[in-house]
């Protein structure tokens, strides 16, 4: 099932939750809506599900107007952030709910419902929990039951709101991998909302980065990471060093001192230089685009993090350096950005 969203606008009073959003989701895709809180990503998801209505714009599934249908008629599986399991029903009845409320004419008989629920519980590997109640489950188990419940109605689209938001770090990592595998298995067009860039980049086929009700960039995880379209995307995805620079006449200056890098495009005037921490290469003292003095070195994980006070005097920056490079506080170094972007300020 393809989803197409055209010029969607939704306001809550004076606040524009969605400010002209266009989006196409291909059949079988696993798409992430990534953005800070208040960026409109959950509103977009709820409108696609039919739980909210836009002020203007279009939503269509396979070319058919979805806004003409209510939430119950869209065959959309929705997994809520806090799962919203029915607390007075057993796990079995929770999963069976969508099958039991079907109109009498199409409703399956009891044996078929039982078989289907069993199959779904096996799919999420929790068939042994059928008789428990939601309050007896862990967060990760609730999450998977919520997913099984949403899948029971054989949805054409699966929507997940912050699916891992309320879980602790370890469970989260396991579930990410599990969700990706599950999507591979059932291959339903799926959209999930997250504010966690790592989650979006790791799980999704494509990532939609949103801010202030607008889409900033749509691309594969590699594209949004390596070629951020806007300053916001660069700052939001991955850790970036931001330096205030001035571009004039093809020269890039930091606090008046010229830096030996080429400006991009037609930019001119006050701008911002964005570099990722690991994209600033250490050079021998006296060479490189920037110069500085190592203030502090901390080693952990695969890299060491060095704090360098720039000779250009802008600020102290933190960069990631391979462990093999021997660095000492007080050492003078040169720095060259191997990859960078300059955006107008």
């Amino acid at each position: 099932m393809t989803i197409e969203v055209k010029n969607l606008v939704k306001r809550f009073g004076a606040f524009a939750a969605l400010d002209g959003v266009d989006l196409r989701v291909a059949d079988g895709e696993l798409l992430a809506l990534l953005g800070p809180s208040g960026s409109g990503k959950t509103t977009l998801l709820r409108i696609i599900a039919g739980l909210d209505w836009p002020d203007s714009g279009e939503v269509s599934f396979d070319g058919e107007n979805a806004l003409a249908r209510g939430a119950g008629e869209r065959h959309v599986g929705f997994v809520f952030q806090h799962y919203a399991l029915f607390r007075h029903m057993s796990v079995f009845e929770n999963v069976a709910f969508g099958l039991r409320v079907q109109p009498r004419a199409v409703r399956k008989d009891e044996a078929a419902i039982r078989a289907r629920v069993k199959q779904l519980l096996e799919l999420v590997q929790l068939d042994w929990l059928a008789d428990r109640y939601p309050n007896q489950l862990s967060g990760g188990q609730r999450q998977r039951i919520a997913l099984a419940r949403a899948l029971a109605i054989e949805p054409r689209i699966l929507l997940l709101d912050e699916p891992f938001g309320a879980l602790d770090a370890k469970v989260r990592k396991e579930l990410r991998k599990w969700l990706r595998n599950l999507h591979h298995e059932i291959n339903v067009t799926s959209i999930f909302v997250t504010h966690d860039q790592e989650e979006a980049l790791e799980v999704a086929n494509r990532v939609v980065v949103m801010d202030k009700g607008r889409i900033e960039q749509i691309g594969t995880p590699g594209e949004v990471y390596d070629r951020p379209a806007t300053a916001f995307v660069h700052g939001f995805i991955g850790e970036s060093i931001v330096l205030p620079v001035v571009v004039d006449d093809g020269a890039v200056r930091l606090n008046g001192a010229r830096i030996d890098i080429a400006p991009e495009g037609e930019l001119s005037g006050p701008s911002q230089l964005y570099v990722r921490r690991h994209d600033l290469l250490i050079e021998p003292a006296g060479s490189g685009a920037l110069r500085g003095e190592v203030v502090q070195v901390r080693s952990f994980g695969p890299v060491q993090r060095a704090e360098v006070a720039l000779a250009e005097g802008a600020t102290a920056i933190e960069i990631d350096v391979p462990r093999e490079r021997d660095l000492h506080p007080g050492e003078m170094v040169g720095l060259t950005p191997r990859r960078y972007r300059i955006f107008a300020a």
Partner: protein
Amino acid sequence: MSIEMTLQRERSRRSVASSDAGTSARAAAQVRTEPSTVRIAIIATAMIFLGVFVVLPLVMVFAQAFSRGMTAYLAALAEPEALSAIRLTLLVALISVSLNMVFGLVAAWAIAKFKFSGKTILITLIDLPFSVSPVISGMVFVLLFGAQGYFGSWLQSHDIQILFAVPGIALATTFVTFPFVARALIPLMQEQGTQEEEAAISLGASGLQTFFRVTLPNIKWGVLYGVLLCNARAMGEFGAVSVVSGHIRGETNTMPLVVEILYNEYQFVAAFAIASLLAMLALITLIAKALLERHLDEGKLSDDH
């Protein structure tokens, strides 16, 4: 008892640990709790107050009711006037509790699950029957439906009797007891939010299916709690009913009204016999309330994630 023992254990553990055992431990205990005399005085005051103002009157009601023995008690209850009062009270309670269950559910639903302007005004208005004297509540209905009231002549020409009849008593009682169900449900429904309903709807449930399969099971203990308190008040209401009833013997007197009439006529046994029924209703209500509160607490506890 167990608190006492833990304290004791705590004290002895401390006294062993400290170098200057006896005195410092006692000093520590002195700092941490009030002297036993103060404790006893506070508890005794509370118990005596409760005894004099609550238990003693309750006992007196039953003592008076049975002062001439069981036969006199039963005879008083078997009087046609008493029986008709009991029947009327039950009928009025049934009507007003059913109405208020529906109104309360609708009001609580609207307030807890929808956003609309004027919501705070609605919440304040729901409490109005509690803040107004019941006598005034009764007067309002006299003003509306009385012979000189707004609808008085219209009602008369259509031969509809509201005042001094069952409809008037039921209306006044319904008005006075309106807040109970709504009050019990609003916080409960607000806390539960709308996510489970949204989940049900996205799974294809209709509005009615969502209400009966998801919303109602989640609030059933709250509804029962509200109904219980509403019923207790409906059966015991005096002020508002007294104004609209007209005190027609054997016809429009509810139990509280009959108690007053019999008492004024020096028929103490009969008055207290009926009063004892109301007192028993109160006791049963209290017990049921305690049981329901336990259920409500469990519902809240089971819910935290």
